[in-house]
Symmetry: D2
């Protein structure tokens, strides 16, 4: 099974700042949407992990390299790949691309660990592991 997902996000007015471009922290919100869609495409609802299994996937590290600014009303395409990290974590790599111009806007990654409700690390759930 492919380890890639793609999602499109239209830039909201709320995303912009007075420089006339998207405020840098908001890219990380988009990455969260991209991760959620990555799971959805694979048939997994991240929500169910939390509500049914009591397992969450908080971010341990987040990085973004900004190459070209995104602007209001642009459609940003996010390509997401994921790989397992040891037995308890995941790493996502992202490419953010302007849909209209195909220009690369940013690259990013996030690393995560699975934790239970007491915030203790747990092994990667089997249905997630099966994706890799």
């Amino acid at each position: 099974m492919s380890k890639e997902g793609v999602v499109e996000i239209r830039v909201r007015y709320a995303d912009t700042d007075q420089m006339g471009v998207v405020y840098y922290a908001n890219y990380f919100v988009w990455l969260e949407v991209a991760r959620g869609e990555f799971f959805r495409i694979k048939g997994i609802q991240y929500k169910d992990l939390e509500t049914e299994k009591g397992i969450s996937l908080p971010v341990i590290e987040a990085f973004c390299k900004y190459k070209s600014p995104a602007r209001y009303d642009d459609v940003v395409m996010i390509k997401t790949r994921a790989c397992a990290v040891k037995n308890t974590g995941l790493r996502f790599d992202y490419e953010l691309i302007d849909k209209k111009s195909s220009q690369l806007l940013a690259t990013a990654y996030t690393t995560h660990v699975f934790i239970d409700k007491e915030r203790h690390p747990v092994r990667i759930p089997d249905e997630i592991k099966a994706l890799f």
Copy 2:
């Protein structure tokens, strides 16, 4: 005891949008800060209500009238008054003022009900009621 509280908030770059002024939804975040400080000034930590008593105070209605835009790095003074509404709710009224120019930026109100962890309405806690 006075039913007023005052808090000062410096406008963040993140608060602005491409119009060069504060994005309208962000005023409501400031109102939350103002409510929290209103309680703190009276000796009540809103956090303790939630963690110790399992009681929350969600917003039922929110309104803001925007008169003059706030800009990056401005200091906004928020004057907050509160009154009880029946036995289960509160209403807060706010004035947002530019500290430097004393200009009125906005007026706003929010109404709230106290609820328990099952989201059922509960009576106003005694220590809150004592404020009015």
Copy 3:
């Protein structure tokens, strides 16, 4: 031509707060998305108004009545109607509905005036006026 628009928004993790539901200020961001789509459906790009005509449509008043909480991963349907207010303004009325259950989550309105780059009120642009 119909004066209604509909848009669907999936709740992001970023939208939630520690009460486990969507934070109240974030509804107003959704209303902005709904307004943008309202215009798009009518063949108008709000972005073009700003960049080509130098006209903006800031919010003068915003109100939301919260009836039932939205939660992570829910799809919220927003029905938007608009009407002209005098010669310089618009009013939008919104219904926010949970797509799955058809439950009414919130009702809201926002009022706006058209302004030029010096923030002076201007008459409603003809292509907008033609919508009503």
Copy 4:
């Protein structure tokens, strides 16, 4: 002159997510506040750079390593250091510490270039250079 700045930020309800801790993207908003205060302590208003000189300092890279979660109403202390990068850029390094427990919550860095209104890189302004 010291190259360090310290700022304190109280966690807002809006900062939290349904995991009961601060949402990861919001740390980057705090870093912006820390940078602004870093300049202010040195006698420079970042706002004046933009409005008087037409110079901005967008983020080129942003990284955060999350060690321990911040929670609602916590006071987060951010220690900020900065250094010049070549002739056109700055790098900020941050330590985020829980004020009450002195626990390290996160470390982070951001890199920036100075640009003019056409988004072309420009040399570090003299009054900034004098800080290093």
